[in-house]
């Protein structure tokens, strides 16, 4: 355990203590593994668990912190006035309470759509600017910022609000979508995520009904070892839909947010593991 702390560079350590004291993502995961009785999904990659203290996502988050505080864009503003639901500039605990309804847009928004909204309104970026357009990859502003922001909720329980009718409506529509079979292969999300210990080839799949598994499944951003990149919730969705033989989904679409609303609600009360490390 001590070794983990030594391995962390100073800015990383500061970023972590700024969010949740003394609870590294690997510690959160360790407790879930124990609680789940060594779930096959949670334990499928001992290498990844060992590497978590050196997660490359921390470097991406470091860049994100700089970008967050830097005055940028046509309006020469930082993102420190961005309201992710807990008030302007409050990041601690904001991510585990997304998606949520925002009165200023009249929409239920997830982290990515809210971030885009702030980059447009506060900083003056537009849809065609690379800062907003490029959604994926370690070198994208979007992933740097998302990783930094989400990390401030590491270890905190998922608690997306459902008090607004639109939050409830989106969550419920997401549930229908989760079980809705379509596409060339008749797949629904539930085809792969409604049983315990099942595999696609060698990959053990998370079961939505097992809370300890599901919180890891939805803990994004995570560094994906096989892709050598930090990935977002929206990216996870995109890859599932691709395998499901569905058409392309618009980033930040209401359909995507409905699904993310449902999947986050399904992990309610379980601690977020951010940044996580996945296959």
């Amino acid at each position: 355990m001590l070794k983990k702390k030594i391995l962390l560079s100073l800015p990383i350590a500061l970023a972590i203590t700024g969010a949740i004291a003394a609870q590294a993502p690997e510690d959160v995961l360790d407790r879930l593994v124990t609680k789940s009785g060594n779930s096959a999904y949670l334990t499928q990659s001992p290498q990844n668990r060992m590497m978590m203290p050196d997660n490359p996502a921390y470097l991406v988050a470091d860049d994100g912190e700089k970008l967050f505080k830097e005055k940028r864009g046509p309006k020469n503003a930082s993102l420190e006035e961005c309201d992710f639901g807990e008030g302007p500039g409050v990041l601690k605990g904001a991510y585990v309470e997304l998606p949520r309804y925002f009165a200023d847009t009249g929409k239920v928004m997830d982290l990515e759509t809210r971030l885009v909204y702030c980059m447009k309104t506060l900083q003056g970026f537009t849809d065609n600017d690379p800062q907003i357009k490029k959604r994926h990859g370690n070198d994208s502003d979007m992933m740097k910022l998302q990783t930094y922001i989400a990390m401030q909720s590491n270890g905190m329980p998922w608690n997306p609000p459902l008090s607004h009718p639109l939050e409830k409506a989106m969550r419920d529509a997401g549930e229908v979508m989760f079980y809705r079979r379509a596409g060339k292969m008749d797949f629904a999300c539930a085809t792969c995520h409604a049983a315990t210990g099942q595999r696609i080839r060698a990959s053990v799949l998370p079961n939505k009904e097992v809370a300890e598994e599901w919180t890891k499944a939805i803990s994004w951003p995570a560094y994906r070892v096989g892709q050598d990149n930090v990935r977002s919730s929206q990216h996870r969705l995109l890859e599932c839909l691709w395998q499901m033989r569905y058409p392309n989904m618009k980033p930040g679409s209401d359909a995507s947010i409905a699904l993310i609303s449902f999947w986050t609600d399904a992990a309610r009360g379980q601690p977020a593991i951010i940044p996580d490390m996945k296959r």
């Binding site: 009718p165 409506a169 229908v176 979508m177 379509a182 696609i200 058409p247 679409s253 209401d254």
Partner: protein, 284 residues
């Protein structure tokens, strides 16, 4: 200028609110998709509590819904539904009418993204929510619909080349679209068997479907077994209503010749499926 689609109209009718037909998405009703879904519009038929609405009348903007937190509009037209619209209707709306998916995306089979997303009868009957069980009447219906789709080869079901079948069984390529469409001119679509099944034990298969190691060794190659196996690959719902198994023949994923090759991989005594020891199957 623009039109209210049936799902949007149903949402509006269900809320007793009138909508401004401003910039509603110009997509056609789901029922208008050729060859995709049965004639009934998905949302209207799914929403048992809601009757098919009358076409909406246009209203002037000053008659916009008073409760924006209940029904919200933006450049997409209707954005969100209120609490008394069923989740099913809202899901259909989000999938098919809110511009969330690229509905016009070309598919490898020459259709569109929309055709992939509009449910056919079997997909509808088999979209069971948490704790929902397939009742015997629906199961019989699914089986009947599936059985009617199976086209057996002229001259009877025969085994093809197990070596070709082995490659097909391993390949997970084909028909993926989204952000990275599979190019079938560069590689033929595979049968995806190993994604969900353990077959021969030299490679690791998935466990969503049952293990098929020693399939032919255990079952033989009688005419009944050949016909049954062909049917399960072609449209497994005939035998197992609402199975997770894709309808490889009925949905045009595999040709009859490819099915014969995959069957040879399963049944031919020389195939590794039948020569590798079942005890070595664990692997994982």
């Amino acid at each position: 200028m623009s039109k209210i689609t049936p799902i949007a109209a149903a949402i509006a009718a269900a809320t007793s609110l009138f909508l401004v037909a401003g910039q509603v998405t110009g997509q056609q009703a789901s029922s208008a998709t050729p060859g995709a879904a049965p004639a009934k519009p998905a949302a209207a038929s799914d929403a048992s509590a809601v009757k098919r609405p009358e076409p909406l009348k246009k209203r002037t903007p000053d008659k916009a819904p008073p409760q924006t937190e209940v029904l919200i509009m933006d450049s997409q037209g209707i954005r969100m539904a209120p609490a008394n619209v069923s989740a099913k209707m809202l899901a259909e709306y989000l999938i098919l009418e809110s511009a969330g998916f690229d509905l016009s995306q070309a598919t490898q089979e020459g259709t569109t993204g929309k055709d992939r997303l509009v449910q056919d009868e079997i997909q509808k009957l088999c979209s069971l929510g948490k704790g929902e069980q397939l009742d015997s009447k629906a199961a019989a219906k699914v089986s009947e619909l599936a059985t009617a789709t199976i086209k057996y080869p002229e001259g009877g079901v025969k085994l093809g080349d197990w070596r070709k079948g082995r490659e097909l069984a391993w390949s997970g390529f084909g028909f993926r679209t989204a952000h990275n469409p599979d190019d079938h001119s560069k590689q033929q679509p595979g049968a995806n068997c190993y994604n969900c099944h353990q077959l021969a034990t030299d490679r690791t298969g998935g466990t969503i479907g049952p293990p098929l190691t020693a399939y032919g060794k255990l079952r033989g190659s009688s005419e009944e077994i050949l016909k049954y196996t062909y049917g399960v690959i072609y449209n497994a719902h005939a035998y197992f209503p609402c199975t997770n198994m894709p309808r490889m023949g009925a949905k045009g994923v595999l040709t009859q010749e490819q099915i014969a090759d995959v069957m040879a991989y399963l049944i031919d005594p020389a195939s590794p499926v039948n020569t590798s020891a079942a005890s070595g199957m664990s692997g994982m």
